[in-house]
């Protein structure tokens, strides 16, 4: 069963076609990778799915609902969460509060309830703290709960982004270069962690990644973008030997030696 269906998705910036009629189907519960050289339109593609940009053409469907025209916060409510290539944490608030922001949509407190600190609001707030702490435990950041997010190490910031995304209880999790800047050991741990997330949390994962070892190891389906167009899709083994893909990464000469 497919959870995400993208059809004919197109986005232009002025004369540049950043994403050009891309089709894509993501199976529920799968781990899918989107790869491609720099500037291929991968992040733009994520931004189109999550509503940061509106597509010029085409459709994005999460299960039965179309996401085109929805605002980012509405799309989040439909069950898509993401992390960012250039980390976007709430730097000056604590690690725990960062995750609590992820719980935003499930908290019901309104203005009046907050002003009068009703029993319900206080209980909800306490539960939110506990749940946020639980997510910190899950990604291994529990002991940093009171630190400012900006003081975490780079790898820890990436994990915090994942914890924050998980707190929104997504059906679909988009990870934009989760291994960027990690050393080989951290990358290996991340690979295991992504597997574990899928097992534990019943979540479908789509990731953009440049680390080919990770991509080949982890993904069941790979989509390759180049210059905004989808040039290949298939299982890791197929992609590894795809002529077009090798060409896109290494240049024509790699395929047909002069």
């Amino acid at each position: 069963m497919s959870i995400l269906t993208v059809s004919n998705l197109t986005k232009q910036f002025g004369g540049l076609v950043a994403v050009n009629s891309v089709d894509m189907t993501v199976e529920k519960g799968s781990i899918t990778a989107v790869i491609g050289p720099n500037g291929a339109g991968k992040t733009t593609f994520f931004n189109l799915i999550t509503g940061v940009y509106q597509p010029d053409n085409g459709n994005v469907q999460l299960g039965p609902t179309s996401l085109v025209g929805l605002k980012p916060h509405e799309i989040s409510r439909h069950g898509i969460a993401r992390t960012f290539q250039n980390i976007r944490l709430f730097s000056n608030i604590t690690v725990l509060e960062n995750v609590m922001v992820g719980l935003h949509k499930q908290l019901k407190a309104g203005i009046v309830g907050t002003l009068f600190q009703t029993k319900k609001v206080r209980e909800e707030e306490q539960l939110a703290k506990e749940e946020a702490y639980h997510w910190l435990e899950y990604v291994g950041l529990a002991k940093h709960l009171n630190e400012d997010a900006q003081n975490l190490s780079y790898g820890a910031q990436r994990r915090l982004e994942i914890a924050r995304a998980l707190a929104t209880k997504p059906k679909l999790l988009l990870l934009d270069e989760p291994a960027a800047g990690m050393n080989p050991r951290e990358t290996r741990e991340l690979t295991e962690f992504i597997h574990r997330m899928r097992e534990d949390l019943d979540v479908t994962i789509v990731l953009i990644e440049h680390d080919m070892k990770l991509v080949m190891e982890i993904s069941e389906q790979i989509f390759v973008l180049d210059h905004g167009e989808k040039i290949a899709e298939g299982k890791p083994a197929e992609i590894r030997n795809d002529v077009k893909v090798i060409e896109a990464y290494l240049g024509k000469s790699a395929v047909t030696p002069a």
């Binding site: 944490l89 608030i93 604590t94 203005i111 939110a128 702490y133 899950y138 994990r159």
Partner: protein, 429 residues
């Protein structure tokens, strides 16, 4: 000195005793040496000391209440300076509430607003128009001015009208960000002032530049509030509610969403935060505090005219927030108090003193350095010094500290069966 502070740390009893002693001494000196500004300021300073003691919060509030409600009005009540002290304290209270309102907009939600005084003006005019004969010019029914007893309802009305204008302003304005937002809000502030200045024709609503005179003073059960020492208690009451509200908002879902928007709009949205609604709420709540104090201001001055609501006022309030510490409630309170007292008391006293000296022929100032001109110069110099040496503000904002042990216990119930969590073993080495 270091030895002394280290000895005091942790010793709550000693802290209480010292604090009480301090309050007693400053109170006595104010009581005996009337019209001593220094003693009055030192007495106010006790509240700052209180903030730094390690007493439980409830006790701090209690002591602050006793000092503010009882001690300060009582010990200054016997001398000739009574009303002027109370006037200063009342104005401080008004500015503190406004600065706390602006702190929500600028400090928590990160929206630079340079026209904040507009909401104060709206509050002031809301009461001013109906508590003078002015409303009779355009209202087909009812008799005006309304009685002073309507004041209490008007605090709420002023609050809501200002919040409404906050939203109305926000809807078009929040399409722009950063520097542009500052410019647009600046424009809004000026528009409001100029509208009030010119709304005397075709229908005379605000009485234009002439202003609204003899606004009815507040009244309850036949008791009229006319003097600063009476307004002092009204302001104190509202201020207490404002501080309570700010604290509650700050550490709630709403406060978190403000901070999230301030830190990173795109990430905030992708967490399900409605950007426009969150910003509008910040504008509305910030404006509402200002609106309430506007009503009090109109009643206290018994006169409202557009010159009270200039750009300089907006900037002064912004300076209070920045000097005190953006996003920090105690900081902003201190900032507002320091700036107001500096403007109303310290700098004027210094100017008077210098003037006296030059009159007595002790020193002579060249025309360009006349003490009255020096006043703004000194004020500006103080701001620059603070901006350089303490950019985070007098009392920088602090993040809450959560108790790990209690959360550890509570987090267990969020684990599903299949999730195997070993604390701090996530996917790190």
């Amino acid at each position: 000195m270091n030895k002394l502070t280290s000895k005091l740390k942790g010793n709550k009893l000693a802290q209480i005793i010292l604090l009480v002693l301090y309050v007693l001494i400053t109170s006595l000196s104010l009581y005996l040496a009337q019209a001593s500004v220094t003693a009055f300021l030192l007495l106010l300073f006790s509240l700052l000391l209180l903030y730094y003691t390690e007493l439980p919060d409830r006790l701090k509030w209690l002591i602050a209440g006793v000092v503010l409600i009882g001690v300060i009005p009582f010990v200054s009540s016997t001398g000739p300076g009574y009303q002027s002290y109370m006037e200063v304290a009342t104005v401080v209270g008004i500015y503190v509430a406004m600065a706390l309102g602006l702190n929500i907009v600028v400090g928590l939600a990160g929206l630079l607003d340079l026209g904040f005084v507009a909401f104060f003006a709206i509050g002031a005019y809301t009461y001013g128009i109906f508590a003078t004969g002015q409303a009779a010019n355009f209202m087909p029914f009812g008799t005006f001015p309304l009685s002073g007893e309507s004041f209490w309802i008007f605090i709420l009305i002023g609050c809501f009208v200002a919040a409404l204008f906050g939203v109305l302003l926000g809807i078009p304005v929040l399409r722009v960000k950063g520097d542009y937002l500052a410019i647009v809000t600046l424009g809004f502030g000026e528009i409001i002032r100029i509208v009030f200045n010119n709304l005397d024709k075709p229908v005379n609503i605000t009485n234009g530049a002439m202003g609204l005179a003899s606004v009815k003073p507040p009244e309850i059960f036949g008791y009229q509030f006319v003097y600063p020492n009476q307004f002092y208690y009204i302001v104190l009451g509202i201020l207490f509610l404002v501080i309570l509200a700010v604290r509650r908002f700050e550490f709630s879902k709403i406060g978190r969403s403000w901070k999230a928007v301030r830190e990173n709009e795109i990430a905030a949205q992708s967490m399900g935060i409605h950007l426009v609604r969150t910003k509008l709420l910040a504008f509305a709540i910030g404006a509402s505090f200002s609106g309430m104090m506007g009503v009090v201001f109109a009643a206290k001055q018994t006169f409202v005219d557009p010159t009270s609501f200039t750009l300089l006022e907006s900037i002064t309030i912004l300076v209070m927030v920045i000097l005190g510490g953006m996003g920090s409630v105690p900081g902003v309170i201190l900032g507002a108090a320091v700036i107001t007292i500096l403007n109303l008391q310290v700098l004027t006293e210094v100017t008077n003193y210098l003037n006296q000296l030059s009159l007595d022929g002790v020193i002579s100032f060249p025309e360009a350095l006349a003490p009255a001109k020096m006043q703004r110069f000194i004020f500006g110099a103080i701001l620059i010094i603070f901006a350089i040496y303490r950019p985070q503000g007098l009392i920088p904002s602090k993040n809450p500290v959560f108790d790990e042990e209690s959360l550890k216990e509570g987090s267990k119930k969020h684990r599903k069966e299949q999730i195997t969590v070993e604390p701090d073993k996530g996917f790190q080495a």
